[in-house]
């Protein structure tokens, strides 16, 4: 065996770079299985809800926060919800699996990588998945002329990544400390699905009974949906947009910090 030069004090970027081959291997193995949920399902929603149901809604003359049609109204909402679901899918079973079943992380932590490096690289992969899934979605909807603002749509692309992280990091932290996967089914039922349905993706939250309208404001997805809609439809309300960014950014930041903490405890006990 020859001796080779290895950076003895690698920086953060180099430590992430060292994990790229692992994640490429993972993606090569899993991309086929994710094609339908990542790239096809969203369009089934667009057709079923936007085009077919939308025909009924539009003829009813509903008020849709300034959107020209029901299809244009729900398109940004579906994109934002897709960001949430993609991120959730990548940070529940895969994280617990890497600790418990595949033992990926247990091997990694015996190398120069730290739990923070492991978390960051995994979240990098989540960003990649959200970016490709939502990027393709935005692009196709944009080409079909559903969005009025090109710049807004480009910004909305980055908002999807923010939404992905706002959900992905707290879920990552939660999964990293879990002993078994039973709670995942509960999370899907009591968190992901209700948020999906009631966060303003399908109808304005002002349509909710007053007593629970404020609940929608607590929903991170509502912040994401509203921000995406403002940007793509060119109806930006500056202060409100800023609030959305702050809420999502705070969740992502706190979730990231919590993820590192929980994974460190899990792996280095």
């Amino acid at each position: 065996m020859t001796s080779v030069h290895v950076d003895p004090a690698p920086g953060r970027i180099e430590r992430l770079n060292r994990q790229v081959d692992y994640w490429v291997t993972v993606y090569k193995r899993t991309w086929r299985g994710s094609v339908i949920s990542s790239f096809l399902m969203p369009f089934l929603y667009v057709v079923a809800m936007g085009v077919l149901l939308g025909g009924l809604v539009d003829s009813g003359g509903a008020s849709l926060d300034g959107a020209p049609s029901y299809l244009a109204y729900i398109a940004p909402g579906l994109v934002a919800a897709h960001a949430m679901q993609t991120a959730a899918g990548e940070t529940m079973y895969p994280v617990l699996g890497a600790v418990k079943w595949n033992k990926t992380y247990l091997g990694m932590v015996a190398t120069p990588l730290t739990p923070a490096d492991i978390v960051t690289a995994h979240l990098g992969f989540v960003v990649f998945r959200v970016a490709t899934a939502c990027g393709a979605f935005l692009l196709v909807l944009g080409v079909f002329g559903l969005f009025t603002s090109v710049l807004g749509t480009v910004l909305a692309f980055f908002v999807q990544i923010l939404i992905g992280l706002a959900f992905g990091t707290p879920l990552y932290a939660y999964s990293a400390g879990l002993k078994d996967p039973t709670p995942f089914a509960v999370i899907f039922r009591v968190l992901i699905m209700p948020l999906f349905l009631f966060s303003g993706a399908f109808f304005p939250v002002s349509n909710l009974p007053d007593a629970i309208e404020w609940l929608a404001w607590l929903s991170p997805l509502w912040h994401g949906v509203d921000l995406t809609r403002m940007l793509t439809l060119g109806t930006v309300d500056g202060p409100l947009a800023l609030l959305h960014v702050v809420v999502l950014g705070t969740l992502a930041g706190v979730g990231y910090w919590w993820s590192i903490r929980r994974l460190t405890r899990r792996l280095m006990h």
């Binding site: 080779v4 290895v6 015996a110 190398t111």
Partner: protein, 327 residues
């Protein structure tokens, strides 16, 4: 294989480079607690570069807990620990970069192919792709896994997984190799291949630290070892010195009918320095086994089977911990 006899001396000054090889592992008063339970209760270690050092001890003695602290993946609860001269609390990544670790339980990535387990792992250490690939192929050949290279880990037998774990621990050409029960589950041939490899690594200057339940392995591989029991070190020395210090020259083994050993032991316990009662036999510790056997016969006892042999580490272990090595 030379067997330098060293005597345990906790007050010995720490080695410095002028006196001999530097310490790769130095621990003083090292402790590890899990909640209220203390798994490691204040141990001192000093392992110089180039040594092959072993941990022996019954189940639950604290061997793996100690190994994990040395591997810089488990923070000590108290005491001082230096690995390669560095503090694992602050220099974990730098330490781990130079370690090879074979944990007691395999941590192979079950979703990757056998070869990818090695290649991808080498990348974590910052090795270039081409280097990872050539080292992986070499290790697969050496550990006789090359035919399975493309298969998933799940398709391997237990012993093959073990071999792959050991192969993986060598991908970064470590200075310090930590092996927690490396040969558990290996067939005799694979064990000898591994011993041979470890012996060659040692000759190249790699420091070896291993735990084992096999005394032949400890005798073959270790220059020096410690016996741990209940979180403490109860003996330390070379295999020969330990045998000399804690056992007699010879052992007379007597087998009687099931259930008779306890009562018969009382009738002959004056014939040996020490008598151990095992469920299936009596062990008489003595300097002249044949002589002792003759005395046993004089007393009119007729064992179903007898064996006179030299003392081994197994006897040291039994004496110190009251337990057999493999239980």
């Amino acid at each position: 294989m030379s067997q330098p006899v060293s005597h345990p001396d906790p007050t010995a000054a720490p080695r410095t480079s002028s006196e001999g090889p530097p310490s790769l592992i130095r621990a003083t008063g090292l402790r590890k607690s899990f909640g209220d339970f203390e798994a490691v209760r204040g141990i001192d270690l000093d392992v110089p570069a180039g040594e092959a050092f072993g941990f022996l001890g019954p189940n639950g003695a604290g061997k793996s807990s100690t190994m994990r602290m040395i591997a810089a993946v488990s923070p000590p609860s108290a005491g001082e620990l230096r690995i390669l001269g560095l503090d694992p609390a602050t220099h974990g990544p730098q330490i781990r970069a130079r370690l090879g670790v074979c944990p007691q339980e395999d941590t192979l990535d079950t979703e990757l192919s056998i070869r990818d387990n090695l290649v991808v792992y080498g990348r974590y250490f910052g090795l270039p792709r081409s280097e990872c690939a050539s080292r992986a192929d070499e290790l697969l050949r050496f550990f006789q896994l090359q035919e399975k290279a493309r298969q998933k880990v799940e398709s391997l037998s237990g012993g093959m997984k073990r071999r792959l774990t050991i192969a993986r621990s060598l991908i970064n050409q470590p200075d310090l190799l930590l092996l927690d029960e490396p040969t558990t589950g290996l067939d005799p041939q694979a064990r000898h291949v591994l011993w041979d490899k470890l012996f060659r690594l040692k000759q190249q200057g790699v420091t070896l630290v291993l735990t084992t339940h096999y005394m032949d392995e400890a005798e073959q591989l270790c220059d020096r070892l410690v016996v741990m029991d209940k979180g403490e070190i109860v003996a330390e020395g070379s295999p020969l010195a330990l045998i000399r210090e804690h056992s007699t020259r010879e052992v007379t083994e007597l087998r009687f009918g099931v259930g008779q050993h306890e009562s018969l032991a009382e009738r002959i316990d004056d014939l040996a320095e020490r008598v151990e009662v095992l469920p299936d036999r009596l062990l008489l510790y003595t300097d002249d086994g044949e002589e002792t056997l003759a005395r046993v016969h004089e007393r009119g006892l007729e064992p179903a089977a007898v064996l006179v042999r030299r003392s081994t580490l197994e006897d040291v272990f039994l004496h110190l911990t009251g337990r057999t090595l493999v239980d």
